[in-house]
């Protein structure tokens, strides 16, 4: 693919989005101008169909503001459908958002700005050349050994002077032009140092180079202007072309990921395959939701939709049958790549290759067969009550557990672990394994990702409610299966982006953990801390190694938002740095507590409380620190079990931390943990005091003071 193709794809995409926005803008203006119900209903239809296409197109927008505004448009359109949304203010708000989107589309990209800037510089150089002494232009080279005259006329300069002044600018423009796509800045003259002009270069040669540069930089303008003038309304062909080019780009990227110049292991192969499948499923879902069948002249749109559906299903099979077992079946992968290539050729309107029908026929069966009785019963027991589920009452951990049980059961039945084979056979179980695997992943994303959206959770709950009905073998199961796989792909891509940015926070170099999640980075980056036999040695080297890992873990806990682990690790770091170090018995206890919490976090369970351990470590540290008489009372309190005294100790700790910490944000979590433990102690004391008072007065029940 040439580098010009992505630029053309972006331009086509922008035109398609702008055309859609323009239609919607007209509808809004019509709705505002005519208050009749008929006019509103007609405008509403256009807006609803337009917003669906826009939401699909927004998935491809590189500008996050544009993507966000397109999603806002969808929300406003939904609101307009309701009673509350019929007020003119909502329509005006929608209109404002549409206009904002069009403005974002028409803004120049950074590359365009660079091109115009470079063009302006080059034009200035050429204009300066026109002011040189015409009679001297015929001189080919600056005279060697002859100093240039300092008396150049202010209006007329010598060519050699012009050459000397503009050579650095020419070099700068050529180097900056490397960021522009295509061959816009191919140098005619060799580029060397910007401070010394090549000896054999003449002013005429440089001028020729600049003129060539000017025409190549300006060349985009004439193309763009012609196409803008002619385009007006973008057609569906532009959108299909953009999608087809994207499919080609992902296939090319996958090829490159598999042939990096050295052998890649199975883990890398599985990861690259998963990324490709998520991207292809997203593209296929965009094809399904945004295809404009009637206006297409270049592709058989029903076959394109068929190919898109087949890609989604085939992708699901590879994700949940092959890669789950840690390998990629070459035959399945070949089939998927063929389907993707066929869809690409359809979208780009290229010559259709033979064998499309054959590939489609061999695509895996989409419909879900009915489950055997015992499995259906297990599913009913697990999800039978899901019809009452909503976002408030859903216990994602419990749902995840049910799903996991069913998944393992399906795998063991289908994998021949038991003698009894389901009546439907192993092929039927494969479809259900894909489905349950997808549900399990989706629940995992919704539960684990701090970025999960209520929309995604609602969609998933809606699906879970359908699950017992699908077990009977409904005819529309294919639609539900596709929707679920599309949701999974969307959540997976969101998760990958989230982990990418989270890992950047964790590790500045990032190359160490490139492509990994924070969990993977921590699991592979910690060596001493997880070892059951870690020794907290008094030797400096060993202690430094432990400290390094504790600091790394502190960052990881902060990124993952696991406050309990963060608090404990913070205090352990202080303890490791204390002189003399705490007794080994105490540090071993702390290490065991930490390992237990890390095991819980690794298993996606909420970590237990570390308050006792934190209190023990602080008691030791405070016992060390309070040497003067002024702090004698603190030392005396160190061993006290009285809850009031303990609260007082915590209060002193808080004050000390606040006094000594320069960055309060870094200790925020520890402060919160200490305040919570103080609150619990105080509320327990009040409760006990109230209960005692109530008991002595013969009053039943307890009132909190």
């Amino acid at each position: 693919m040439t580098s010009a193709a992505p630029e053309a794809a972006v331009a086509a995409f922008n035109r398609a989005v702008d055309a859609q926005l323009s239609n919607m803008q007209r509808s809004c203006l019509a709705a505002l101008g005519d208050n009749t119900d008929e006019a509103r209903a007609s405008a509403g239809k256009t807006l609803i169909s337009g917003s669906g296409q826009l939401a699909a197109l927004a998935c491809f927008a590189t500008n996050p503001s544009l993507s966000r505004q397109c999603r806002n448009i969808r929300r406003y359109v939904r609101l307009i459908g309701s009673e509350a949304g019929r007020a003119p203010v909502v329509v005006k708000r929608l209109l404002w958002t549409i206009v904002t989107c069009r403005e974002l589309l028409s803004r120049q990209t950074a590359k365009e700005q660079l091109r115009l800037l470079l063009l302006a510089k080059v034009q200035r150089c050429i204009a300066a050349a026109a002011a040189t002494d015409a009679g001297s232009c015929t001189r080919l080279k600056p005279r060697q050994g002859v100093a240039e005259s300092p008396d150049d006329s202010p209006t007329l300069m010598m060519p050699a002077t012009w050459l000397r002044q503009n050579w650095p600018l020419y070099v700068d423009v050529q180097r900056a032009g490397g960021f522009l796509p295509g061959a816009q800045c191919q140098p005619c003259s060799p580029i060397g140092s910007r401070t010394s002009v090549p000896q054999d270069l003449t002013a005429v040669a440089l001028l020729k180079s600049l003129l060539h540069l000017q025409s190549s930089l300006a060349g985009e303008v004439s193309e763009g202007a012609a196409s803008d003038g002619a385009a007006g309304v973008a057609s569906a062909v532009d959108w299909q072309r953009a999608t087809g080019l994207e499919v080609g780009r992902y296939l090319h990227t996958y090829q490159q990921a598999l042939c990096p110049g050295h052998e890649i292991d199975d883990v890398e192969r599985v990861r690259a395959t998963r990324v490709l499948i998520w991207d292809l499923i997203q593209l296929a879902s965009a094809v399904l939701s945004a295809r404009v069948a009637s206006s297409s002249q270049h592709c058989n749109s029903s076959r394109t939709a068929e190919l898109a559906s087949a890609i989604i299903i085939q992708g699901g099979v590879i994700l949940h049958l092959d890669t789950a077992a840690g390998a990629v079946d070459p035959e399945n992968m070949r089939r998927l790549l063929k389907l993707a290539l066929l869809m690409k050729t359809d979208l780009l309107g290229e010559t259709v290759t033979q064998g499309a029908e054959q590939v489609l026929r061999r695509a895996p069966a989409a419909a879900l067969p009915a489950l055997p009785a015992d499995l259906a019963t297990a599913l009913q027991l697990a999800f039978g009550d899901s019809k009452d589920l909503n976002l408030v009452t859903a216990d994602w951990r419990e749902l995840s557990m049910h799903c996991y049980q069913l998944l393992v059961r399906l795998r063991m039945l289908g994998g021949g672990y038991t003698d009894s084979l389901a009546a439907a056979g192993t092929e039927a179980l494969k479809s259900w394994r894909v489905l349950m695997g997808s549900i399990y992943r989706c629940i995992g994303y919704c539960e684990q990702l701090p970025l999960h959206s209520a929309t995604a959770q609602e969609k998933l709950l809606r699906f879970l409610k359908q699950l017992p009905l699908l077990a009977t073998g409904r005819s529309d199961s294919i639609v539900w299966q596709q929707r679920l796989l599309m949701l999974e792909a969307r959540l997976a891509v969101t998760a990958a982006r989230y982990w990418q940015s989270a890992v950047l926070e964790l590790d500045a170099e990032q190359d160490d953990f490139n492509g990994q999640s924070v969990h993977q980075a921590l699991a592979s980056g910690l060596r001493l801390l997880p070892a059951a036999s870690a020794v907290y040695s008094v030797q400096d080297d060993a202690r430094q190694d432990v400290l390094r890992e504790l600091r790394f873990l502190l960052k990881g806990a902060r990124v993952l938002g696991i406050q309990r682990i963060e608090s404990l690790v913070w205090v352990m770091i202080e303890a490791c740095q204390a002189q003399p170090p705490p007794p080994e018995v105490l540090m071993r206890r702390a290490h065991r507590s930490l390992c237990r919490m890390l095991d819980q976090a690794a298993a996606w369970q909420p970590p237990g409380s570390a308050r006792r351990m934190i209190n023990s470590l602080y008691s030791h540290l405070e016992g060390l620190g309070s040497r003067t008489d002024q702090h004698r009372s603190l030392r005396e309190l160190a061993g006290s079990d009285n809850s009031y005294q303990q609260c007082l100790r915590i209060n002193w700790r808080l004050r000390k931390i606040l006094r000594h910490s320069r960055d309060l944000d870094s200790v925020r979590v520890l402060l919160q943990e200490l305040l919570r433990s103080q609150e619990d102690m105080l509320s327990t004391s009040v409760h006990y005091a109230s209960a005692s008072a109530a008991g002595s007065l013969g009053v039943s029940g307890v009132k909190r003071l």
Partner: protein, 129 residues
């Protein structure tokens, strides 16, 4: 053949795995949790398991901690069972000293082959020691 301990609080899958292991000719001992492990005679003289297969996903307790504890008490080398398709599970298990992680996404034949490799590796370790 070897004595293998299976610890899993999902009854169906624990029993199905035990029946597969018995089909392969191994002796098995099963338990839901640590309490049941202690209640059985496993670990006592003459009944020391070679392997303990521990399910990671549990309703109560933690699979990693349980596997580490069983391994540290000489109740066989731990093998973690996880169908979560998470690379982090394998990495963390290794960091905690649990060398092997298996999944039921493998079919029974592949699972058995992996188990055989593990048992062979243990035998080789003993020979080297």
């Amino acid at each position: 053949m070897a004595l293998i301990l299976v610890v899993d609080d999902f009854d169906w899958q624990r029993e199905a795995l035990c029946s597969l292991l018995q089909t392969l000719g191994h002796q098995t001992c099963q338990a839901r949790d640590l309490k049941e492990v202690r209640a059985t005679s496993v670990g006592k003289a003459g009944a020391e398991p070679v392997l303990c297969l521990v399910e990671l996903v549990r309703r109560q307790g933690n699979g990693f901690g349980l596997a580490c504890w069983l391994q540290s008490k000489g109740l066989g080398r731990a093998v973690l069972l996880s169908d979560r398709a998470e690379l982090a599970d394998r990495l963390w298990a290794r960091a905690r000293g649990i060398e092997w992680t298996l999944s039921r996404a493998l079919d029974a034949a592949a699972f058995s082959a992996q188990l055989t490799c593990i048992l062979q590796a243990l035998t080789d370790d003993k020979r080297c020691a």
